[in-house]
Structures are given as structure tokens and as C-alpha cells.
Symmetry: C3
Subunit: 415 residues, 3 copies
């Protein structure tokens, strides 16, 4: 007998409502979540376009007139610093016939002039000029659509929702904990994109659990304790607390809003450290530092500090560098794993840090991830796939499921 026979459930449906209703808590999500074009449309419209997205860092906007784009799915946002120095975010779609008003990825400008018909928008999104529009046309009604924006320690978060999820409680809770890292005084050392032929949710799930770290990440597992919870001994925790104190961090400071998106419009958020194995001061090949200490740190804290502000937005803070992760949808089964490596802003490449040494660990780790996310999508595409039970090490993933599913359920009147 080939099937495990869960009665009265259509495991192969691609209907969004039925998928949302059928999900079994504690199990993987069904095939349709990763194969249905209707779900993907909902993912962009109802999830990505409604939540907060970490789009970049203030170091990308050094001067008035500086701008950069952040794109996902069919969407494109412009983040710009205007003439007064204010940072704003806008939808990169002309209010005339919809062309991208900003075809460049980044740069500096006095205004955004649509390449099609030359409607001119100010750096704050207002429409400055539009030729031949006749009487009755009101420029004030035709500025670029403005997105909500928050900046936390230099990190820029944007939401295009009319009524975005509540984010300020999390920012207030996280800020004092991460302040010593001096995240606002960083620069980008390197960026890389790892395309994977899989739905974006499979990439997020992969980031959410370390059940796979032991089997799949030999290099990572050598230094990071996450591969096996039982390896985090009292001795290791005590060492971490001592190192944090020596570094100038509160010994065990944590902020947690876990699994809160499931029930409210408040974002999941998290900051907390876990130990590296003895001899490792940072996430590098030999455990030695690969860049100058961040911010106000007085010594390495010999751990890794997770930072999450909204399920989609994840950074990993080491003593000497920060790695940011994004799982950017390009199509139903086409995702870019985007990685950004930050070091302190005054560090000089070739003098204070070596790019290969800095990026080695998460380059090889992400290559592993690309491979296993790919075979995950391949198997999920099978009509024989039935969601299996989650392990005890996939707890955070359940949080992602709950937050994601309930966001869609609320939007569709099912919650």
C-alpha cells in the first residue's frame, strides 16, 4: 500500500483556503504551499507586502540624494535620503503608466525621472512635474506610493502595508541589548547571492532550524553549538556568560517575542547568544577573529548573537562581523539567498580584514544549504509527498508556520 491514508484530507490541493484549513500543527506544510501559483501570489500580496522587510543599512545612503533599490518577487522599492537628510521608502512604480521610475540599483541623484515619459519625482517621492496632463490633474495625488519605514541601529526596515504590524515594542526591547555592537557604525564588506530553485519558504525554514546542521554543515558544526542542543553544557553556557561580561555585554541578555505573529499583528523578534565551542572566538575557519571588534566591545564574547526582527529578517552578530540573511522570492520556485557581511566602518580591507577569511564559513555553509533546499523542493514536488512530523529541534520553524499561516488566515477571514 503506497499511501499513509490520512482520510478526508486532500494532500494535493492547490486551493489556498483548503491548504490553510488543513495544516496539521507539528507537521511540515503540504505540497501546495510550495507548488501553487495562487499561494505564491498570496505570499507576495498578503505576507511580504504586509509585513516589515529588512531592506538594507544606512551606510548605503551616505549623502543627501543617495538611493538604493530593494526588489523581491514583482516588487521594487526605492530607499532614498532626501534634500533634508530624511530617509524615505517608495514603491518604484510610476503613477502614470507604471514604468520603473528608477532602473538603477543604487546611486545618487537630484530627483527620480521616469525613463518613459519623464514624470519627475522628488527625493521624498512627491511628484514635481508631469507634462501635458491637462487641467484637473493634481500633482499632489500622484506622488510615488510611500512605504512605512523604521531604522534600528542603522538597519532599515520597510513595510508597504496600509496598517503595518506593530514593530516599535520590538525595537524598544532589542535596541539596548544590541547597542554595544555598534551596528550603526558598520560598512558592507561583501555581498553575495545564492540562487536556489525552490520556494522562498523552504529557504526560510532551512534558516529556522539547526536539525540539519549536524548532517549538512560539517564546517559550521565544528564551531557552533547549535547542531545539537545536548552539546550546550552548563560549562559552555558559563563560559559564554563570562565572555559576554568581559566583552561589556550583559551576561545573559535576551529579548524574546516568539510565536507572537501567530495571534497578533505584532512581529516576532529575538536577540540572544549561543556559545561557540572552546577555542572559537568568532565564526571563522580557525576561530580567530577576522576583523576588528565591533562597536564598544572590549573583548570577543566567544559566541554568536542571533538578531531577528520579524520572521523574514535575520542577522547573526559575531564579535567582529555581522552576517545578514535574506530569502528573496524571485518566482514560485526561484529564490535568492542574499548574504551581506558587515564589518566596522573604519576597517580597511587587506589591512584589518581579509575577504576570503571573513566570508569563508557562511559561503561554504550557504552552498550546503543551497544543495539541501534544492533536493527538498524536488521531493516536495512529488504527488506522493505527505507532510511528516517535525522534530524537537524544529521549534522555531513551527513559529514561522504559525505566523505565516495565521497572517494569511486573518487576511482571508479564516482566523
Amino acid at each position: 500500500m503506497i499511501h499513509d491514508g490520512a482520510p478526508s484530507v486532500d494532500w494535493l490541493t492547490e486551493d489556498v483556503d483548503q491548504l490553510l484549513r488543513q495544516h496539521r500543527t507539528g507537521y511540515a506544510m503540504a505540497r501546495g504551499f510550495y507548488t501553487s501559483p495562487a499561494v505564491y501570489e498570496e505570499d507576495i500580496k498578503t505576507y511580504w507586502n504586509q509585513t516589515w522587510i529588512w531592506v538594507g543599512h544606512l551606510c548605503q545612503l551616505p549623502k543627501n540624494g543617495s538611493f538604493f533599490r530593494f526588489d523581491y518577487g514583482p516588487e521594487s522599492l526605492i530607499i532614498a535620503r532626501d534634500r533634508k537628510g530624511e530617509v524615505g521608502a517608495f514603491v518604484n512604480v510610476c503613477r502614470h503608466r507604471g514604468a520603473r521610475v528608477c532602473p538603477e540599483a543604487s546611486g545618487r541623484t537630484h530627483a527620480f525621472t521616469c525613463p518613459y515619459h519623464a514624470w519627475v519625482y522628488e527625493l521624498n517621492g512627491d511628484l514635481r512635474a508631469a507634462r501635458e496632463m491637462g487641467e484637473g490633474f493634481d500633482r499632489e495625488d500622484h506622488g510615488l506610493l510611500k512605504a512605512h519605514i523604521r531604522i534600528m541601529e542603522g538597519l532599515i526596515f520597510v513595510s508597504t502595508a496600509e496598517d503595518p504590524p506593530e514593530i516599535d515594542t520590538a525595537i524598544a526591547g532589542l535596541t539596548p541589548l544590541i547597542a554595544p555592537f555598534g551596528l550603526e557604525r558598520m560598512k558592507i564588506a561583501h555581498e553575495a547571492s545564492y540562487p536556489v530553485p525552490a520556494n522562498w519558504k523552504l529557504a526560510v525554514e532551512n534558516y529556522m532550524e539547526c536539525y540539519h546542521c549536524g548532517p549538512a554543515h560539517l564546517d559550521f558544526s565544528q564551531s557552533h553549538s547549535l547542531k545539537d542542543p545536548s552539546s550546550v553544557t552548563p560549562e559552555l553556557l558559563a563560559a559564554l556568560r563570562a565572555a559576554r561580561a568581559k566583552a561589556g555585554l550583559s551576561p545573559a541578555g535576551e529579548f524574546s517575542q516568539h510565536n507572537i505573529e501567530a495571534d497578533t499583528k505584532r512581529l516576532d523578534a529575538w536577540s540572544g547568544s549561543y556559545p561557540l565551542y572552546p577555542g572559537y572566538h568568532t565564526g571563522s575557519r580557525d576561530g580567530q577573529l577576522v576583523a576588528p571588534l565591533l562597536g564598544d566591545l572590549k573583548a570577543p564574547f566567544d559566541g554568536a548573537n542571533d538578531l531577528q526582527l520579524g520572521i523574514l529578517n535575520n542577522l547573526l552578530i559575531y564579535s567582529d562581523h555581522v552576517v545578514g540573511y535574506r530569502f528573496v522570492p524571485r518566482g514560485l520556485q526561484d529564490t535568492d539567498i542574499q548574504m551581506v557581511w558587515y564589518v566596522r566602518e573604519d576597517a580597511v580591507e587587506g589591512v584589518d580584514y581579509d575577504l576570503e577569511a571573513l566570508t569563508w564559513l557562511w559561503h561554504v555553509t550557504t552552498q550546503d544549504d543551497e544543495r539541501i533546499i534544492r533536493v527538498n523542493q524536488e521531493g516536495v514536488n512529488s504527488y506522493h509527498f505527505r507532510p511528516g512530523p517535525l522534530s524537537q529541534m524544529e521549534e522555531f520553524m513551527r513559529g514561522f508556520y504559525d505566523g505565516y499561516l495565521n497572517t494569511l488566515r486573518r487576511a482571508r477571514g479564516l482566523a
Copy 2:
């Protein structure tokens, strides 16, 4: 607030009927017209397969047995000159199991033999032979499907509709006006195809308005007055009339059936000249002629003569050459901009004309168009796109919208 809040309108629908009902006159068309597979299917079945298409020129059929193909979307037509010299058009689909009976793009043959099972069709489409079909099979019922055909001054127009739009009034009106150009005595000097990742309607719209010519076409705008209606001064118009008279053309001859497809099954059609700027005799880099004068012209008329017969079919007549434009759908967001440059049939390349000089203007202009049509589609794909108001210089585009929308509405019983 991110949205402009047009109440009770679902701007993101991909439902064909709802899209047709929701369109606001004087505004761009909504996202779904350019993103919905159902709309694209309708575009081919209800619009392209029902209207008249300019497929080529008699110079492509020099002898009995000569043929060429014209393909769009999933369709393929054969245009052939039969043993009696008659020109006909047929659907390039075998009446047995549907193979393309003519895999070649053009050539000369005695008959069309299907490469699959060797059903043999005459040059006039009749089925000549089919083996092993048993009794009761009637060859007369299984000829290639015949398309309607009209030839105007050498230009070939085809419709696969059972009951095509009325075209003869337009032909009768246009013919005397364009006769002096001698279009039937031309040859193809050059053909080129510019693929653009956008829906075909965005390419048609681009051709329909010169609101973009100033910002997007620096080279074109240097010689052609269309970039700005206010630049067409009484002096310029007077110069055009004088030049037309000197060339042997009626001073201000025009034929117009504008916006007629919206209400009837009669085709929009248009012939009329606009001035080039002083010093320009034709559409070339320096304004000098790039080929011998066409037809019966006695002198250059120092203008450009638009010729339209059906919304899809557009040619631009200069004193010394003609440029034909086609916006051929290949897929939902995949279009070929096809260009054909014609010169008089006795002109010799390298002696009477130089190919680079002849094609320069519309090569660079079409490269510009490819770029802006592409960013147009990119922005229209956004779930944040809302159709904006059209300018006063996009009047012809409204005609395209009205004709297109009402053709679909009529076919679906909505008009």
C-alpha cells in the same frame, strides 16, 4: 497610506470579464491585462485571430510556387502564390493530426507535404493526397483552413476570422492617397527583430504615442516634430504642404477612420503626414536622402507619412524608404518588435543605398523603445501598480484601448 484607494475595484484581478468591466476611460489599463494568461489567450483567439494582420509584401512572392510564413503566438500562416499566380493564405496546421505542414520560413515549392504523414496540399490549400484513409474520407473536407486576404499597393493583409472586420472602405480611402509612393514597386532592404520581455500591448501602446519621444528618443526628436505638438508651427505646416505639392502629393491629403473599431467591426485606418524639422528630407542621421525617391515622387516631401490599416498594422513612409512595424506576441510577456525597411525595387545596395545609413534612425530608436517597454512591464507586474491618467499626447493610445476592449467585450457579450 500606501494605496490611492479606489473603492470597490479589484485592481489586481486577472478575471477577463471583470477587467473589461472595470476599465476607466482616460486611464491606463490595469495590471491583469498584462499578467493574466487568460487575457493572453483571449488576445490571440479574439483579437489577433479575428482582426486583419499585415503579414508581408508581394515582393516576397516573386513566382508561382513562392511562399512565406507569418507566425504569432501559437499561430502560423502560410502565404503562397499558386500555379495560376493567385495569392492565398492558409493556416499552417495539418488537417490530420495537426503538424505544421510547412516547417520552412519561406521558399518555393510545388506543394506542401506534411513532414509527419505526407498528406499533400496544393499551393491553394486543397488536399491533393492522403494515404490509407479508408472509404468515406472526403479530401474536399480536409484542405488547409483558408484565411481571408486583401492586397493594398503590394501590402498583404490576412484575417482568419469567419466574418472579418470590414476593411474595403479603408482600402478604398487610403489607396489614392498612397498611390504616388509606389508601394507595390518596393523590395525589402533589411529586416530585424527586437525581442522585448513584455506583453505585446505595451509595445503597441509605445508605438501609439509620442509622449515618450522627447525624453526617450533623443535622435528621433532631433528630426521629427512629433515629440511636442506645440513645435508644429504654422510655418512648419506650410513648409510641409509646399514640399508635398512639389513632390507631386496632394498638399494635405489625409484619410482618417479613428476610434471606429470601438463601436463597429470596421477597422481604424489613417494616412497623413507630419513635418520633419528644417533641413531634414527624410528620417536619417543628417536628414539627407538615404535611397532613391519612391514611386512617382518628383522631390522629397520633407515629412513622414503614417500609414495605418487596422490598429496592429503600421508603416511609416518617408520620401525614399518605408519602415514597417509589427509587435508580434510570442508569449504573455514576450514580444518581438519586427521591423522591415523597404526601398524601391530597382535600388541596388552599395550603389543606391547604404544599409547602415538606411537603418540607423529606427535601429537606435527601437533599442530605446525596447528598454522603456521592458521597464514598463517590470513596473506593471507590481501588485502596487494602479493605472494612472493618460496625458493629452496619448490620444491615439485611447483609440487602441477602445478598439481592443470593445472587440473583447463584443466577443464576450459584454458590449
Copy 3:
């Protein structure tokens, strides 16, 4: 008039039920069968995943622990020989979160360890180990899904249906007839894959009829009598019977279960010979043998023996080699024609056979097929395509249609 006007039939529908209801016996199938994503989903779920598929040969599993994969559409099967020497087949989808547990195409192993989270499956599919699954998790419920399997003369057939079609009557009928060919004592001499941008059914249809052999296969037609039934004279049949007897085969042994899938869940099956033209002992360029005689044959039988066990599974047995054919769906209009050439297991390449000579005929023949199947799909995609009448030489294809259509009708409650 462009259409042949079959009233009240929507020839362009893509609705599965309507397509199944509308089919006219004796005619080609309608466009939607080859263009509708919903039909393609049904093809995999209801046809391929329910019937028996020929996946390979025992020679691919020489030792305990040997395994190979067979993939089609989104599906992947593992065929493995376990520690006791038993051959089994499993769905290559992890019971946890669905990753491919076996990313390799073939090899030898002690167990299948999922590359994602290291769930370990035995060679017989049982789950051996899964970490951190907590109490209440039952390993016995989470083995790889097992497929049904049958082995006939070394050929391996698999079905993933809960209740597969009846196959044992056919195996019992075929086995004595093909036993003298010694198919279980063969090895793979060569494999090749010919991708064709067409629906898999067009490739199966192409194999099912030799109406196209005369026009399309000049090389094949020189030696094989199938191109024209009238060419199979009494003299040719008598020569075949004499040669079969001399080879040690029953003079005219045949087994036939034709068009039986249409009405029952019993597989179509067929074994029977047809003559080669005088001078041809096998399917080769010059008719001379290209490898040692198979099995117990005492002389070449100067014919070709078709072997079919289920509509999808076809092999052609010559005196000295066997060619297996598979038409493997990769997507809606993306198919791999997979060919396998077998010779007797003790034949040595370069000594007993030359690879180019062995594979020449079916390499050139399949290249021809790729070309005509491609133009078939191109024409079928036209909205003008209407299914035409089948010839008298397309009888077996009608069997395919009937079996395929009734299988889908039964599954959807329409039969």
C-alpha cells in the same frame, strides 16, 4: 470560412472532464490534451502513478546494496537490492519534510541517508533511525512509501498505485514466448536521451503507428516492412516463419491483449514478430548482425519482435540486440525519449560489437522522430487546430487513446 464548424463542441477547452467527454473515436485528440496544465497533472497522478512502468533491468542491480533511480515528471523512484538480495522499489521522498533521500542516479550503499536531516532508511525502505523525534514517534509508520514490483525475464516493472492494474496474466502469457531471447542475460550497451519540446502523449502516439515511417524514416523503411502493410506479402511472412523456426522460436508465436485497458484494469500487452526485408537479419545499416545472437537463438530470425507490457512500456527485440523505448514526461511540453540498447551479457564492446554500428538505425530514426513530434506539438498549439480523422495505419494509437481516456474517465467517475 475558416472553421469546419463542429457544432456544440468547444475544441479549445482545457477542462479535463469536458475534454474526456468530447473525444470523437477515430479522430485525433483535441488541443487541450496537449496544452492544459490540469490535464498534465492528471497524466502524472492518474495515469503514470497508477499504471505499471518499465523502469530498468536487473543488470543494473548486480550486488546487494546496488540501487538506481527512475524519474518522471515530478516523481522519483528508487529501485534497490537489499541485504537479502530482494529487489524493491520506493518513492524517493523523505517521510519527514520531503527531501529526495537519494540524490544520486545510481550506485551502491548500505542505507539511504537523507541529505537534509539524516533520517536513515534501510535498503528495503524501512526507517532505521531518526534523531530527536520525541516520544510517540513510531519508526514503523515512517518508512519510504513502497511501490509494487514485478520482474519479467530481467525487466523490472513498478507501480505506485494502491491497487495496480492486473499484470500477471500478461506476464504469464508473454514469458514463454520471449524466453528463448534470454532477456535476463543481457547488459546495457548504450543509453541515450532525446529531449523533445512536446507533450509525452505525442511521443507515445508517434511510437504507436508506422503511418509516418514511409515519409519520415527513410533508413528504417529500407529494412522494416512496417512502413506499408501491403508490403508484407505471403512470401515475406513465410520467410519469417521459416527463419523463426530455424532460430528455435515457435513459427508464429504471438500473445495479444489489445485494447483491453479501455474496459478493464488489465494491461494491454503484446508480443509478435514482423519481417525484415530480404537480406536483412537485424535492424542495422546493412542488415548484417551487429552483436552475438541473444539467449538460446540458433540463428537470426530475420525479423523484429515487438514486446509491450502496458501501453507505456515498449521494447523491440532483434536477433542480436534489444532496443527499449521510454517517453518520459519532464513537463507539459517537455519529454525525454529515452533509448536503451541491450546485448547479451557476455558480449565485449570492440570485440563482439561496435557501438556505432549497434546504435546507428535507432539513433537516426529517433532524430527523425524528434523533428516530427516537435512540429506536431507546434501545430497542435494553434487555436485553429481541430482533430482530424485517423488513418487505417493508426489502429494501435486508437488503443492508446482508449486505454488512456478510459483510465482518466474511471478515475473521475465519468465511465
